[in-house]
Symmetry: C2
């Protein structure tokens, strides 16, 4: 995270432009709604050309998530640098509780959360954002456990963990949901559903 030497004027200006665009975008989106603001509007507010805008952000949706950044690295680190004796699933649980839950529950970001939650395009983009880290996470898990890089169980675990943000979105108690999901991942449906796994005979209603 240390930007070691003085970054130089050019890079500072570039960063400033990028920030100006992101700020303008968020401001306009929060005020009028994502769909009623055009990319050209954002560019104009930030006083740049649309070409410049797209030189900094790959898409309109990306304007909102200008901090996609180092989720990848944090995720990998959470697994690699876990305490001795802690399993990977527990490490991921801790990471989720410590780094993800606060973001969703922070009241200062309520309006931002609402913007994303109320805009299908943004919700989808956000979910997809998480999934983009599945390959990295899968590889790290496999590496930590001395398995083949494409081990299907590791791939599955990675994707399932990255589903969690989507699963907790819009729930009253994200923390509890996270716990439930991790218990499921760790001990399996069989354990959490009771030994009988809810056979069909237990219920009344049927087709």
């Amino acid at each position: 995270m240390p930007d070691s030497p003085p970054p130089g004027r050019r890079e500072r200006k570039k960063a400033a432009t990028r920030q100006a665009i992101a700020d303008a975008a968020l401001e306009l989106f929060l005020e009028h709604g994502f769909d009623r603001v055009s990319v050209r509007d954002v560019a104009e507010r930030a006083d740049v050309s649309t070409t410049t805008l797209f030189a900094h952000f790959p898409s309109k949706e990306a304007l909102v998530f200008d901090r996609e950044q180092d989720v990848d690295a944090a995720l990998a680190a959470a697994v690699r640098e876990r305490p001795e004796e802690q399993g990977v699933v527990e490490a991921l649980r801790a990471h989720a509780l410590k780094s993800w839950v606060p973001i969703v529950t922070d009241p200062r970001r309520a309006d931002f959360t609402a913007l994303v939650g109320d805009t299908p395009a943004l919700r989808e983009y956000g979910e997809r954002m998480w999934m983009r880290h599945a390959d990295t996470l899968s590889a790290v898990i496999a590496e930590e456990l001395d398995r083949e890089p494409d081990d299907p169980a590791c791939a599955a675990l990675a994707r399932f963990v990255l589903e969690i943000p989507a699963l907790t979105a819009g729930r009253q108690d994200p923390r509890a949901t996270v716990e439930t999901v991790f218990d499921l991942l760790l001990h399996g449906w069989h354990a959490q559903a009771g030994p009988a796994d809810g056979p069909a005979s237990a219920q009344a209603g049927r087709g």
Copy 2:
């Protein structure tokens, strides 16, 4: 599935138009690639206006998946009408093996599968297509087990099961992958990773 009475000329013509569009699209996409064919090209080949094209399909991607149809119903039925004594997870496993795996492995669809696999837009659209059934499946599972409709464990299970097509895509042995993933879901990571869950101390490499 029975279109009981004679469908009437109008409906037949409509179906024919729709089919002509889908055929033209697939033909052009397979020949030149999804990204190098415009919607206007497809419309022209099918001899309709783009307006008509979008009256039949909600998006360019949808042209490829003109059979999204009754996955929802089949999924719900697989759970509801499972044999006595079979758990929901086992029912879903059976469904996946019987209904999903053959589609991916069918050699007659190799070129189609390749088209989707090689086109990011299509792969994403396909994955999202599956996830659209998560709410239905979650509700059915909860209902079968007498739980709250928004039970987080049911929601998680549903989403995880629907991740399976994405997880098996492009693998050499989809069948084995499906089995592995269901074992993970059923018995948990703890069971499949061994009792120690691979604590950090087991490995050498560390950050």
